[in-house]
Symmetry: C2
Amino acid sequence: MKAYILTIGDEILIGQVTDTNATYMADALNDEGYEILEHLSVADTRQGIRDGLDRALAVADVVLMTGGLGPTKDDITKKVLAEYVGTELTFHAPSWERLQRIFRSFGREATESHRVQCYLPATATVLTNERGTAPGMWLEFQGKIIISMPGVPYEMRYLVRQEVIPRLLARNTRADRQRSLTIRTAGAGESVIAEAIADFEDALPAHMSLAYLPDLGTVRLRLTIRGTDEAAMHTELQAQQVKFESIIGHLVYGYGKEDLALAIQRRMQERQLTLVTAESCTGGAIASMITAHPGSSGHFKGSVVAYANSVKNQQLGVPAGMIEKYGAVSKFVVEAMASGARQQLNADYAVATSGIAGPDGGTEEKPVGTIWLAVAGPHGVTSKLLRAGKDRKRNITYTVHQALNLLHQELRQAEA
Amino acid sequence: MKAYILTIGDEILIGQVTDTNATYMADALNDEGYEILEHLSVADTRQGIRDGLDRALAVADVVLMTGGLGPTKDDITKKVLAEYVGTELTFHAPSWERLQRIFRSFGREATESHRVQCYLPATATVLTNERGTAPGMWLEFQGKIIISMPGVPYEMRYLVRQEVIPRLLARNTRADRQRSLTIRTAGAGESVIAEAIADFEDALPAHMSLAYLPDLGTVRLRLTIRGTDEAAMHTELQAQQVKFESIIGHLVYGYGKEDLALAIQRRMQERQLTLVTAESCTGGAIASMITAHPGSSGHFKGSVVAYANSVKNQQLGVPAGMIEKYGAVSKFVVEAMASGARQQLNADYAVATSGIAGPDGGTEEKPVGTIWLAVAGPHGVTSKLLRAGKDRKRNITYTVHQALNLLHQELRQAEA
């Protein structure tokens, strides 16, 4: 079954906000095997919405749309939708009673603008929005399904998860299914990988495809299969995965949504190992990526962000004379930072970074982008020199990925 | 002149990545006064790209497109574009020479896949991509302009800024110009601000508009003016800014792209003050936001990310008995973290956080979202309790904003 993503709102159109709703809806549909034809963002005008619906319904069986359901005058989606499917807006008493009940429970009264939100297309099935005041709507039109949700991401996500996907699945609306496997690699660039797996890629059958998604020192590869038999697709995908990994398995760190930090979390917690970081040029970005994951406190103890040399010296025990002699951006200092953090914060492993993130601060000998990494563990200290570019933000992200990859390799080696 | 945003890529379509390129291109065009009709994301297939171009060219005068220009087999934009405008791919020698030169300067050799990137539609004007290997293309077709850029955000942004916008402006393709001023506030919600400035907003002339952009504890307000006389627009915008600030100037911390961390950097460096952080639930996110800015080493000395209680105790000097008695998430502990960091890392100010970011780990007394902040400075310690939600990522960002805003207020008060 073919799906279409339609988002409504001038704030998206003029680039004031990024359309994360489209991403969420597409990801949810893709996970369930729906083919997504296009994403389209249109103006919140009668013409914009009608044009969008025309385009969507010409090609797709189900349209997920967000936006234009708020209480203000420029929110016209409902009205246009009713007109489009040839019905009228009628007052939906259960929604109004629900709203009044909620407001009273907060000691407030629902207002006239909330009451207006309860006028809905007469033929719509109402999708109760437990996260907000604007209900979602499910409309059947010319054998197709139109689903309209509020644009507030928190409310939309609730409706997709709790109402839309279950109802679509209950209709058994999928014919051709699609399954994807995302394989995550680090340590080699897109073109190096492409050359290494050229034969593998050429030999893929027509109903399978491979896509590359590079991101600063990491490359995700998405292997997609289309078919009707779920079990056969699964088997075939697995067989290709085995082939793929026989070529570049040493670069693979995880699958699906598992980023490097999560792959490390899994490995370390399985072995009850602990981790700390000592960060100079990454400024806390490694710790921040690690602690973004629920449960990270199971292996991560903390970090010393040692931006000033005095902090490197006093909190990490790096000798002041060493910093003076070799400079803060040096093999000796980064290794001392890693060893010091491991010892002072009492962990099994420590990751350290020291570099010139830019855009200024470089010298002829150590230009912007000169970055040292180190990992200290039970088996000693490993370090690595990176030569990155001049863009500060990219250099920081690149260093985070490289540092976590170095740690991941050390963990894998220690397990072998 | 009407513009259209067309992005190509299965990774967008299936929701694997969010289409931030569309946002960037739209924002850049909107700033220069172009009307943006739609954003459309299509599959990286011949049919997908052709359908997208058909749609875009039917309504718009200029189409900005990204994606499908990489060196791998799934990158087919160039080929489809050449066919669409009725030309052939020809080898562009200057691009190839440029690539070879760049690779040699890194001590490497350009590969065959890089050579392939230098075959471009014969009628295209090549837009030199100083940030990567795939050139941008400017095509004239049936009186309209098609611009194709790589999908790597860093490369696309460079091309938009350095090549696309200047070339569009040189063609004098605008009628009305548009100028915006972004005013950044923290410490009050959208509805509180809306009520406070209701009269100001009502009194705005028809060629001016105000938009709200709330983001977890901060609200940006964008004041936009349209017109033809650049100088007059500037003067009028300034006059409105003065009016606006007479009402809620106390909430304003910066303008344009200046975030809270940069506003703090400016204030602290002007007075030669130093800063450290002691982070539990934010896990290094505050340090990371501070050090994202070039020049942050001028005031920021470092951070102790104290995820484990042992780190709070040993690196920050928080008494173990205090943690045991009151819990790590308490007024006493967060204040001791701030004071400890200020002392141990020897800085003028310290910011500390301790809370339950979620999604698990809450208790009846301290549910998920219970978060304590503190700022220690020359005049003592201030602390604050937040009651956030259950979403880990949102809670961390909200806490970072609130903590930096608390510091910013302290700095402003100390200056007064």
